[in-house]
């Protein structure tokens, strides 16, 4: 009997702790995002983070998008061939990349490449008490450390997604037209007829902005509130990747359900 009560108590405690964490994360986000912009002094910090978060993620995004586009081209060709509609390959590649694969896979790669690095970096700052000493010197760590990283993530994601989309379509073109011999004119004109810039491309980019917010939010939160030990940092890094991947896939479904009306 006593054990049962303890079990229920534990359960309630976990629920309370979860609610508290969500609350802390929410306050953390609003304090980071909604601060008075001192743009000229903020810009150098932002550019540095854009380099580490955005530019350095470019290589993995470019390489994986090229291969994903090529695989889509190959798979699509083999399926469409059965129905004699190979000319629609451009449409298949472009729509699946622009609507779904672009934002989602860029988001997952971004979580693995940039999100985990952010958590580890901020977590180590926390463990070596750099953040505490900043506070001692009356420098706001949210302004100096967290905000530039957050905004850099939000800005980088749509840029990376746009690059991903373009290169994946190029990969599909390489396989479909250059290798398997679909007519290039049919490939592009069918694609243009099916893909609408506002409905498809812009909605994909909206998704990517949302994913950028979520991933960097989770990453900086996990880093900032890490247990300041070696194992704590490693657990926080793992949590960042797991939570952001789950958040991306779940949110993607919700966003798609909202956007599906426009098709």
């Amino acid at each position: 009997m006593f054990k049962l009560i303890q079990l229920i108590e534990n359960f309630g405690q976990k629920g309370l702790a979860f609610c508290e964490r969500v609350g802390i994360a929410g306050i953390f986000l609003t304090r980071t995002a909604l601060r008075r912009p001192r743009f000229l002094r903020f810009l150098p910090l932002l550019i540095e983070q854009l380099y580490f978060i955005g530019v350095l993620s470019l290589v993995i995004v470019v390489v994986s998008s090229l291969f994903i586009g090529m695989v889509l081209g190959l798979q699509g060709y083999n399926i469409l061939q059965k129905f004699g509609t190979v000319a629609q390959l451009g449409q298949l590649v472009a729509l699946s990349v622009v609507r779904e694969l672009g934002p989602v896979i860029t988001g997952l790669l971004f979580a693995g490449r940039a999100g985990s690095a952010l958590t580890a970096e901020i977590g180590l700052m926390q463990a070596t008490e750099q953040i505490a000493s900043m506070e001692m010197m009356a420098v706001d760590p949210l302004w100096k450390i967290i905000a530039p990283r957050f905004w850099a993530g939000v800005i980088s994601m749509p840029v990376l997604t746009a690059v991903f989309d373009a290169i994946a379509i190029f990969g599909g073109y390489l396989v479909g037209v250059e290798w398997l011999g679909i007519d290039a004119g049919q490939f592009w004109s069918n694609m243009q007829a099916a893909v609408d810039f506002r409905v498809d491309v812009i909605n994909g980019l909206i998704k990517s902005v949302v994913f950028g917010c979520i991933v960097t939010w989770i990453a900086v939160y996990q880093g900032y509130y890490t247990v300041p030990t070696a194992s704590g940092i490693s657990r926080a890094t793992t949590r960042t990747v797991v939570y952001s991947s789950l958040a991306i896939l779940g949110l993607d479904f919700i966003l798609t359900a909202f956007m599906v009306g426009g098709w």
Binding site: I47, L58, S156, I169, D196, F197, R198, V199
Partner: protein, 163 residues
């Protein structure tokens, strides 16, 4: 520490790359919805059956695209399908007795609306109604009719023989 100038240069290049990718997507891989409230006028047509017609399906005259389907709904009184389409303002001199029919691109392609211009002197206005329409041809019904007719013919033949 990486030099400041290199950092700024790399980030600038990164942003430009993003914009270039977006421009490529816009002009090479997708098309803007050409028909909006501004450059087109609205016409409604009521069909008995629209088949597989979708929103944003093309509207053509003599095979040339002049507009697209904007809205499809059901008329609550007559239970016929009401199709609202946007037509290019350049094609504003359509006679009011033009007819609209729903056709299929190829054997298994998507449905689209073909407008056949009429001969009346007064023109179709904004928010106008195309009165003469031809519904979509449903393959299943066509086959059903064919089978029915064939059966009918057979019975006639048998009747003749017995006579």
């Amino acid at each position: 520490m990486i030099a400041r100038r290199f950092l700024e240069f790399a980030v600038g290049l990164f942003m430009i790359l993003g914009v270039v990718a977006l421009v490529v997507l816009a002009f090479k891989a997708s098309s803007f919805s050409q028909y909006s409230q501004r450059n087109s006028y609205q016409v409604t047509a009521v069909f008995d059956h629209i088949g597989d017609l979708k929103i944003r399906a093309p509207v053509t005259i003599a095979g040339v695209r002049v507009g697209e389907v904007k809205k499809i709904m059901i008329d609550p009184v007559t239970f016929r399908a009401k199709v609202v389409m946007f037509l290019d303002k350049k094609q504003q001199n359509l006679p009011s007795d033009s007819s609209a029919s729903i056709l299929t691109a190829g054997l298994i392609g998507a449905n689209y609306i073909e407008i056949a211009p009429g001969f009346a002197d007064n023109l179709l206005k904004n928010d106008g109604l195309i009165e003469e329409t031809h519904p979509a041809v449903i393959l299943e019904r066509l086959i059903g009719q064919l089978v029915y007719n064939l059966k009918g013919d057979k019975e006639k033949d048998e009747n003749k023989k017995t006579k």
